[in-house]
């Protein structure tokens, strides 16, 4: 099981600013390991953020996202105390879901 995401969601007037830091190796599939063989690609392919059962952001990623991916975005329509659900899934089928409360 992958390490938990670091999540922050803070209210700025009527906007919620969301910052997400995921723990993932993000192997491009081009890098060579110490033994000279190519390290197979291992990267997050899909990310979704949900608020109150509604999808607010959806992403598809390739292997060109940096190791331990960072993502920041903002949306309207939530209030302090609401819960957000962030889920990622990678190209090997591993997945992780974490929750954060809007502060």
């Amino acid at each position: 099981m992958a390490d938990p995401m670091k999540l922050r969601a803070s209210m700025h007037v009527d906007r919620v600013e969301v910052k997400i830091l995921m723990a993932h190796p993000e192997e491009s599939g081009f890098r060579k390991g110490p033994d000279g063989s190519t390290v197979p690609a291992h990267f997050i392919s899909n990310v979704t953020v949900q608020h109150a059962g509604r999808e607010v952001l959806r992403a598809q990623w390739g292997p060109a996202i940096s190791k331990n991916p960072f993502l920041q975005f903002a949306f309207r329509g939530a209030a302090r105390g609401d819960e957000l659900t962030v889920t990622w899934i990678d190209n090997l089928g591993e997945t992780r879901t974490d929750r954060v409360t809007v502060a």
């Binding site: 952001l57 390739g62 975005f73 903002a74």
Partner: protein, 155 residues
């Protein structure tokens, strides 16, 4: 018909119902893999990638901001911010001209989500980063050259 037989039949029916429910639960627990645009992520040039995304015409303008460093010392971590001042932006894509595969990321926005995204990408060598914003009617492009000191794909 005696009672024990009736009970057996009822139990059998219940068991069948439970099994059916169980298999349905297993289906629910294993959702289909989410969509991933294989063709777009396999494109090796920005032009090809735009084609796979269905973009035939696009305009470059001041409505789309692409913020990134002029010189990235480490190509493995290049911070990129894309912000659009247009209404009705549905998608923002980030592409890198000279990466082995051009498309780095695609973001899909719901109503109420700002057309803004900040992330960190890998760049193999000095090249242009391209931001593409797609509204209901139009596609917008922003381009920015970034010098990379150390490549971030292989090594």
């Amino acid at each position: 018909m005696d009672d024990s037989r009736r009970n057996l039949i009822t139990a059998g029916g219940l068991l069948a119902a439970l099994l059916a429910a169980g298999s349905r639960a297993a289906e629910l627990a294993q959702p289909a893999a989410p969509a991933w645009n294989q063709a777009a992520f396999a494109a090796k040039t920005v032009a090809d990638c735009l084609k796979t995304l269905g973009v035939t015409a696009s305009q470059e303008g001041a409505e789309l901001d692409l913020t990134a460093p002029e010189i990235a010392e480490d190509g493995a971590v290049v911070p990129v911010v894309v912000q659009c001042r247009l209404a009705g932006v549905r998608e923002i894509h980030i592409l890198v001209d000279k990466n082995p595969f051009s498309l780095a990321a695609s973001f899909f926005f719901s109503d109420g989500t700002d057309p803004f995204v900040s992330t960190r990408i890998k760049m193999n060598e000095t090249s242009s980063v391209v931001a593409l914003a797609i509204t209901d009617r139009q596609a917008y492009l922003a381009r920015r050259p970034i010098k990379v000191t150390i490549g971030g794909c292989g090594g």
